[in-house]
Amino acid sequence: MQLPDAEALCASLVAQLRGRVTPDTAIVGIVTGGAWLAERLRRELGLETPMGTLDVSFYRDDFGKSGLKKRVRPSQVPFEVEGRLLLLVDDVLYTGRTIRAAMNELFDYGRPARIDLAVLVDRGGRELPIGAQYCGAQFEVPAGRVLVLERDGEDAAARLLLQLSDHRRTRGPG
């Protein structure tokens, strides 16, 4: 399966978002791929509000089945959520369950005025009524295969690339 270039999809997202987000829009990335993407978008769009990151482990609906993953990272929302325009960012939109968990978590920080969703790839397979307002590409990936964003380095400028694998984690959500 030929995967699109993540950098090109990222550029397309920036173009879609330009003019649609105000400088006070707060961007929130879901760890880890979504946070990398959010970091990039925030920089390219010149947003002033500090970035938020969410690890939705405490809000997942499969906790009873899978337990807690090994490395939960602290969520960080360094701005007032109440009444704010939020741009939620994730690398891959699939079942929609991660996005539901992220929205539930965000509401525990306050009542945002609005939440938009930006994703690099919409791979289909939705199990909840959730859609992305901004999307780099849309293509089907067969169930059972895992599509994730990787990063070639540690800083925000590092090259992003999409990876497809059959690897399924035996314990805990990824």
Binding site: D55, F63, V72, P74
Partner: protein, 317 residues
């Protein structure tokens, strides 16, 4: 024999003691706790992880403080909490204990948090509930044996301020003999690779053969504190002050009470810890307890997050 605390996948099934708990399990708890610390600063100080679960606080020995911290932790995980203070004066203690457990298990309890004056009571309960694979037991202090969540919150506090265990000197001071807190902390520190763990106290208050836990023993405060990164003061229980083990509280304070002068012998950035409740003027001077090096109140805050982490990990396994 399998470690009774772990399930067949090597994950935490019960938390009974830090003795023999693998490094990666302790690390998982500490890392998870770090994510819970931020939750208490939010608008809604709750996550939905234990929604619909019932946590029973079974306190066969009174302890309002510890029970409260477990209660807050469980409530912040959205669990339903039932507090039972059970009188231990009944003659047939062993029998009634397991009867109580059977009754509560029949009410579909998901977790027991157990405080008991007898060492080993939580182990007994854990063994007894092995037919209920989703029932978890947390030891909240048993006799002189263990107090693993206190040990974990001490580890969390030390790591928070000092990062790397493998470079540290930690001194545990006072009544180690009667202290389940000390025992748990020493096991935890050793497992995490702390190269220099010291115990300081009078001969009468140190267990015989304590060196076998991998600690250095000091009877002189000045000698023992020299160059330490963290000092953990233990509470001197009132009944010990009157007993034959010690001359008097004043004498004890003179030799082993932590004052600013004695603290000056440790590293300049050494932290001072105490599991509480403190006896000011007995094991610790107010100038130290309320001073800039004291992290006694942060310990309490971290304690909630650590207990949340323990319960969340258990409930997921």
């Amino acid at each position: 024999m399998r470690n009774p605390q772990l399930n067949e996948r090597g994950e935490l099934r019960h938390l009974l003691t830090l003795d023999g708990l693998p490094h990666e399990v302790i690390l998982h708890i500490l890392d998870t706790a770090a994510s819970f610390v931020g939750i208490t600063e939010r608008d809604v100080k709750k996550v939905p992880l234990l929604r619909g679960k019932s946590v029973f606080n079974l306190f066969f020995e009174n302890s309002t403080r510890t029970r409260t911290t477990f209660e807050i932790a469980a409530k912040r995980l959205s669990a339903d909490v039932i507090n039972l203070n059970i009188n231990t004066s009944s003659a047939a203690k062993g029998e009634s204990l397991l009867d109580t457990i059977d009754n509560l298990s029949a009410m579909h309890a998901d977790m027991f948090v157990v405080r008991h004056a007898s060492s080993g009571a939580p182990h007994l309960i854990a063994r007894h509930v092995k037919e209920h694979p989703y029932l978890h037991v947390v030891n909240a202090g048993d006799g002189r044996h263990a107090h693993p969540t206190q040990g974990l919150l001490d580890l969390y506090t030390i790591r928070h301020y000092k990062q790397d265990f493998t470079k540290l000197s930690v001194a545990v001071v006072g009544d180690v003999l009667h202290s389940r807190v000390a025992r748990s902390l020493i096991h935890g520190l050793t497992t995490m690779g702390t190269p220099d763990v010291r115990v300081i106290g009078p001969r009468t208050l140190l267990p015989r053969g304590v060196e076998q836990l991998g600690v250095r023993v000091f009877h002189d405060m000045a000698e023992g504190l020299r160059g330490c990164d963290a000092i953990v003061m233990l509470r001197l229980q009132n009944e010990r002050m009157k007993g034959p083990l010690l001359p008097s509280a004043q004498e004890y304070f003179k030799s082993y009470g932590l004052t600013l002068e004695k603290l000056a012998l440790a590293k300049p950035d050494a932290i001072v810890m105490h599991p509480g409740p403190m006896n000011r003027g007995v094991e610790i001077d107010s100038a130290v307890a309320d001073g800039p090096r004291s992290v006694i109140l942060p310990q309490v805050t971290f304690g909630i997050a650590v207990r949340m982490a323990v319960m969340a990990i258990l409930a997921g396994n």
